[in-house]
Symmetry: C2
Subunit: 267 residues, 2 copies
Amino acid sequence: MADATDAANAVHGANAVKGADGTNGADERLAAMADVSSLETDRLLLGRTSTAERVADVLRDRVAEGFFPPGTRLSEDSIKGALGISRNTLREAFRLLTRERLLVHELNRGVFVRVVTVEDLGDIYRVRELVEGAAVRSLGEPPYGAEADEAIRAIEAAVVAGEEAAQGRAWQNLATANIRFHQGIVALAGSPRMNDLMRGVLAELRLVFHVMADPRRFHAPYLTRNRQIVEALQAGHGAAAESLLADYLADSRSQLSGAYAQQMADG
Amino acid sequence: MADATDAANAVHGANAVKGADGTNGADERLAAMADVSSLETDRLLLGRTSTAERVADVLRDRVAEGFFPPGTRLSEDSIKGALGISRNTLREAFRLLTRERLLVHELNRGVFVRVVTVEDLGDIYRVRELVEGAAVRSLGEPPYGAEADEAIRAIEAAVVAGEEAAQGRAWQNLATANIRFHQGIVALAGSPRMNDLMRGVLAELRLVFHVMADPRRFHAPYLTRNRQIVEALQAGHGAAAESLLADYLADSRSQLSGAYAQQMADG
DNA sequence: TCTTGTCGGATCGTTCAACAATCGTCTACG
DNA sequence: CGTAGACGATTGTTGAACGATCCGACAAGA
């Protein structure tokens, strides 16, 4: 859970960085005496966070872990008291989270944890099929670029994490690993905007899982398929991976949407 | 300028609507006694807006029309005074616009109109090629659904608007029409999330056009190609439209990225 | 002359208090 | 039984205040 937090923040922070500023080319003399250029990488990590962002991090984790189930109203007063922050700061954190589609804001009524509709779920899968498929296809033939290689390593790490979680019956961690697997798939495309989109979509999907009992049923069967996909990627069989992934998503979609519709109908 | 404003707001409002609420199917009796159904369209417009959202609308338009060029710092104090609103409300509006990637927020330094980097531009086109292409492909064979038919009508309306703008040498309107054309293309997929993504991406692209002189050069040549594409769509030649679109994007990309890189280098 | 330390104004981050607007519910009345 | 209206709770918005941070200017030192 803690690592899920860190990972989410890291990705978010990396994407939030704006483009290069124009301060290059004037200090080559300095760079000659000490290798200052190596610090430029760290500079992105330096981005400090405001209180509102940290509050948003806390609330995001709470929502992700199911502490605030979908539909819950997040009262300004109670949360402000519990976290010891001002109302304005809390409202700013709320805005940040509505941006991520985790919360919805209703005028004069407050903010609620998003309730994903069945139509939303269909759209989520449409996006996934499109984006994840395109990401794999964009790989082309090996050798891949350094960026893609790193993405593949991240994917494999997610698979391993999932296998360990399954072994330890830590279903929550399994869900996290599964989400990170697909995040890694999209990262193959190397497009920050696609990563951003998919991060939001997968966060929404997590909300879906939270209203379902027995998360194991929706994650465990896909462990071996994740493994197959990453092995295909590592072997350079992009087309095979894409095909496996398409089947995966189709199966997952039908299984999940059926169960979710029923769950929503039951209340 | 005024119509650009209205259009931007209308599009934004339509896309900002959250998923279907569950209030359908229960009031058919009412519709029978008086023609209430004609009001259902307006109902989405009826969603009241907070002050912060209206402020955000104003600022969004100002940015879109180039009143605030990229890189401009938006001072809280001066804008708050000019609009006659509280600082907190203004900050909330800023948050809304940073969510749309129009502004960037730097801690303790304020908010700035986004400066799109050359890398951003590359990513923007990657996303466009992927998403717009997939949207057209998702059409399949005619007859299309009602949703897709309406999207095609919107596309054609955008083409007509563009042709009229070109005739009147209203280059700003031409840019708007062009953007709306591509927004319509994506709407073919019928995916709210894709529409959302593309709205943001096209808004970013507008920022690019604002730092370039002679907008005509980047829009006028594509008028006839827009026309060809929409005619292919109307004729049910999806594959042809997709191919035309792909060429369009490739040409646009190379023309724009070259000019933009040079523009950024010149300062 | 160049570098470094220090200062002060301007602006942002955050909190607090207050009031207006709105929502939901409960009640009393027809 | 249904409905209008009052009430309490919560959100929307404002205004002021204080500390923190940034940035340019200016002075001291090598």
